[in-house]
Amino acid sequence: MAHPVDLVFHATLPSDPRLLLFVRTLAGEGASAAGFSDDERGRIELAVVEGFTNVIRHAYKDRHDQPITLRLRAPVGSFDLQIEDRAVFVDPAKIASRPLDHVRPGGLGVHLMKTTMDVVDYRKNEFGGTTLTLSKRVPGGAS
């Protein structure tokens, strides 16, 4: 079925891990609407789940009742999602992955986002928290 309008979504959700299935599904639908392959859809889902999880775990320190705003825009050819928290802004230079050759649990989320998306950008937002932008363009597709 053809969808004539861009997929746009804007909502504020609680920082509840039970919503990760919804967040993944939203990301996947956005990726498919933009024209990404199933393989790329899976990578985008992964990046978005990692971003949402990092906010719950690190920004909100596992508090599950804090606001996370999602802003998705997925026109044909590109996927852009912002994940906005209202915690304390963290210097992007301090957001690092563990070395991949150090096999231990944890520390892979940022690495996975950076290897699956074209843009992974952290900015301080108007609430003093962090806005994470995850963007990707369809290879060879329309912009």
């Binding site: 891990p17 990760l20 993944r24 393989d39 899976g42 690495h111």
Partner: protein
Amino acid sequence: MNVTVEQLAKGVLLVVEGQVDMHTSPELRGRLREALERKSTPIVVDLTKVAFIDSSGLATLIEALQAVGKFGGRLRLCGLAPAVRNLFKLSNLISIFDIRETREDATK
């Protein structure tokens, strides 16, 4: 997510279904701990019905791998869907785990 556990003649089989993420990985961690306490190896984790794992799920499997190694046991994974296998590659873990194509091969 759902995890079923089956004691084999030799080893333990865990069949996982659904999405493994921050919300569901504690349940998988609990089931793996129960399996580890049996000291029966190999511990086989069948991921055939898992379409998605994130880094929380990976961390759970790494913990189990390290724990099983402490008593000389083995952990095997099988049935990885392409997206799940891709995650192991992206994380440089594809050669760290003993990954088999089928449950039959993993439980031999």
